[in-house]
């Protein structure tokens, strides 16, 4: 007897996708001046979902001007308690429309509906709810007696968690009293545009949040716009460096949340079944397209073979395929371009002598797919041990002692996250001290919470998102001393 799950598709009828979308500026959708558009596709089927406006210079000008007007005339004058109520309203509306957002996110991004339904959308709503409460308590947040917003915040977000990253950006910005121009990623603009619709429903004053869609050029126009006071960027380290260089010498405040190459360290006394789950969650969650993904498994040599066997057995039960199926664990890669990168780096892993293992699974013919893959016999010099793959590819390295684990874990220009698996409390605390990473998950992995600061060391960026610390990015500095 075998237990074959029948398809359990979520209904896509819960969301209306327009054939084309304009830019959301000053509370209304407007056509781009140049009339240029681009297409966004469902990466699981390659079906075109909609035509989306590409914002050019005059459009970005308009959006920044609208944000400035809204800041000067409305938002900066509004008591925090009133801002709070708008944010609460947004949180509630997100929860009410959660199914719509989850379906749209899955269609546009390719992530499993289980994840958009259980993680992305509820966490986004929770983020607004959390920061809503800060809006009228800023003077008690520990940033001096009279904390001030920057003004207009330019926010550029990635495609891996489109709505959640939007929430991470917009919620603290508005709570602190800034107005916003946000640019979603070009491959995943739809949930941000649906969010714009939600803002109208919430009756947020026009111009407080503006959404301009487009690709890299639009983002560059936005961050280089002289009318912008604050820039928050989440994306790759190379682009982050470029932005930092472009902003250099200006008075624009900048926070960056960039790439990672996290070590997930498993000791011989780990809670082994939970460690296996943690490894799986660490690198196959969201197809591994996660900046804090546990892409380097560092396992104590004495249990390496056993752990890898257990891991492979577990991976064989992962359900890869239609993201809209409620039972899918691993969905589609977000774009052809990303698939290309994953494929290239995996090939490099093979070429450099690592041993490749791929879970047996049938991949759909259309769309962008990559089966969960594990590389063993990986050494620190290999590209797959150093470069961010941003895909469902795990590199397994071994270590002998805690000190060696720390040395290998820290041997990267990145420093976003790390995992530790051991039942020994004092070792956890020692390891946590030694690891140069902004988030350390001990006996768990990939946990996120609105109250918990997130962000990196070294080339993984600077500034924190989430928690009290996340407010700092949206408040101006105090005295010169």
């Amino acid at each position: 007897m075998s237990f074959e799950y029948a398809p359990a598709p979520e209904s896509r009828a819960v969301v209306d996708i327009a054939s084309s979308y304009g830019l959301f500026i000053d509370g209304t959708f407007v056509e781009p001046e140049g009339g240029k558009t681009f297409k966004t596709v469902n990466p699981a089927t390659e079906e075109v979902l909609a035509d989306v406006a590409e914002a050019g210079e005059p459009d970005v000008d308009r959006a920044v001007a609208a944000a400035r007007r809204a800041y000067d005339k409305v938002w900066s004058r509004m008591p925090g308690s009133e801002r709070a109520k708008y944010l609460y309203r947004i949180a509630r509306l997100l929860a009410e429309r959660s199914r719509e957002f989850a379906v749209l996110e899955t269609l546009d991004n390719g992530k499993p509906i289980r994840e958009s339904r259980d993680v992305d959308v509820p966490t986004a709503a929770a983020h607004f709810f959390y920061y809503a409460g800060w809006a009228d308590k800023l003077e008690h947040a520990g940033f001096g007696p009279n904390p001030r917003p920057h003004g207009v915040a330019a926010q550029v977000i990635p495609w891996n968690f489109p709505l959640l990253m939007l929430a991470w950006k917009i919620a603290p910005a508005l709570a602190a009293g800034n107005t916003v121009v946000l640019k979603p990623a070009e491959t995943t603009p739809l949930s941000a545009l649906l969010f714009a619709d939600l803002l109208r429903q919430a009756e947020l004053p026009p111009g407080v949040v503006n959404i301009v869609t487009g690709a890299r050029e639009t983002g560059s126009l936005l961050v280089n716009h002289p009318g912008v006071d604050k820039i928050a960027f989440t994306g790759s380290t190379p682009v982050g460096k470029r932005i930092a260089a472009e902003v250099a010498g200006s008075r624009k405040s900048l926070t960056l949340e960039l790439g990672g190459k996290a070590a997930n360290i498993v000791f011989d006394d780990a809670p082994i079944d939970q460690a296996v789950e943690g490894i799986v969650n660490g690198i196959y969650f969201n197809q591994g397209q996660v900046c804090c993904a546990g892409s380097r498994l560092l396992v104590q040599e004495s249990i390496a073979d056993e752990l890898v066997d257990r891991l492979k057995r577990r991976l064989s039960t992962l359900r890869v395929g239609d993201p809209m199926d409620k039972n899918t664990d691993v969905g589609a890669i977000n774009s052809a371009q990303q698939l290309e990168r994953i494929t290239t780096l995996s090939q490099a892993g093979e070429d450099e002598g690592a041993t490749r293992w791929t879970a047996a699974c049938e991949l759909p013919e259309k769309g962008y797919w990559f089966a969960p893959t594990v590389f063993t016999d990986v050494h620190p010099a290999h590209r797959i041990a150093r470069e961010e793959i941003f895909g469902p590819v795990l590199s397994v390295l071994t270590f002998r002692t805690p000190a060696e684990a720390v040395q290998k874990a820290n041997n990267t220009p990145y420093g976003l996250s790390a995992g530790i698996w051991t039942e020994k409390g004092s070792r956890i605390l020692w390891m946590a001290d030694q690891l140069r990473a902004g988030v350390v998950w001990a006996n768990t992995f990939n946990r996120f919470d609105p109250t918990s600061p997130f962000g990196g060391y070294k080339e993984s960026g600077y500034g924190r998102e989430g928690g009290r610390h996340g407010l700092a990015a949206y408040l101006a500095e105090g005295s010169a001393l």
């Binding site: 946590a432 350390v440 768990t444 109250t451 060391y457 928690g467 001393l481």
Partner: protein, 292 residues
Amino acid sequence: MSARLDVRKTYKLFIGGKFPRSESGRTYKVTSDDGAFLANAALASRKDAREAVVAARKAQPGWAGATAYNRGQVLYRVAELLEGRRSQFVEEVAAGEGIKTKAAEAAVDAAIDRWVWYAGWTDKVAQVAGAANPVAGPYFNLSVPEPTGVVVVLAPQSSSLLGLVSVLAPVLVTGNTAVVVSSEKRPLPAITLSEVLATSDVPGGVVNILTGRTAELAPPLASHMDVNAIDLTGTVGAEGVAWGELEAEAAGSVKRVVRPRDSEPDWSQIPDGPRRILAFTETKTVWHPKGM
């Protein structure tokens, strides 16, 4: 009776707890504000800057690994030694900055007091800037500030001791190590500070002091891949230095950058919080499940 011929001083650099000459062998004349000869100082080179970074990196884990209580004790001890050199500092500040003795005394007193103020922060900053985060789940979740690593400090050009202390001490509080480029024209208080540090309990390499041209030393330090942060405060009034270019160089390794103000601040003001300390920290958040 003829006046005694004074012994003219040629100072050296302070790297890794030692006082080497510049590897370039170069020196430059340090004069008072009114142009009188004061001493020769080492004219540090790019290679000296590189050596200083190596020394700072080597010392960093140990300094960060000391207990906060211990760092506080060590830093407070430095204040005691500063007090002992008070008159020398007053003389150097007065001559270098061209201010009256009374004003120089006030600046030196404020500098010593500021050092004491920062020394007291070592075991408090984590309590002020850390957090136990109430996550919505069965997890213990704690955020703590940690030192960012090796910090390059371009010391203020005008305020040669008070300004220097105001930018250096906060870097050291959490366990960073520093490579200081002293005021170009007024390096003597920085040199004297290095002598104080050398006889204190501050481990070698925790503070490294380079004298020389900011315009020559700042670019290689700003682009150095093994530097975690840079304080550009001292670009104000430095000849041939554009801070925006340094910030752009710093972007290459995603350095934390503290930008200069448009003019050098009035350092006599008491800081309104630990902002300068926190500018050189990383918030680390640790999660652990809570279960039976």
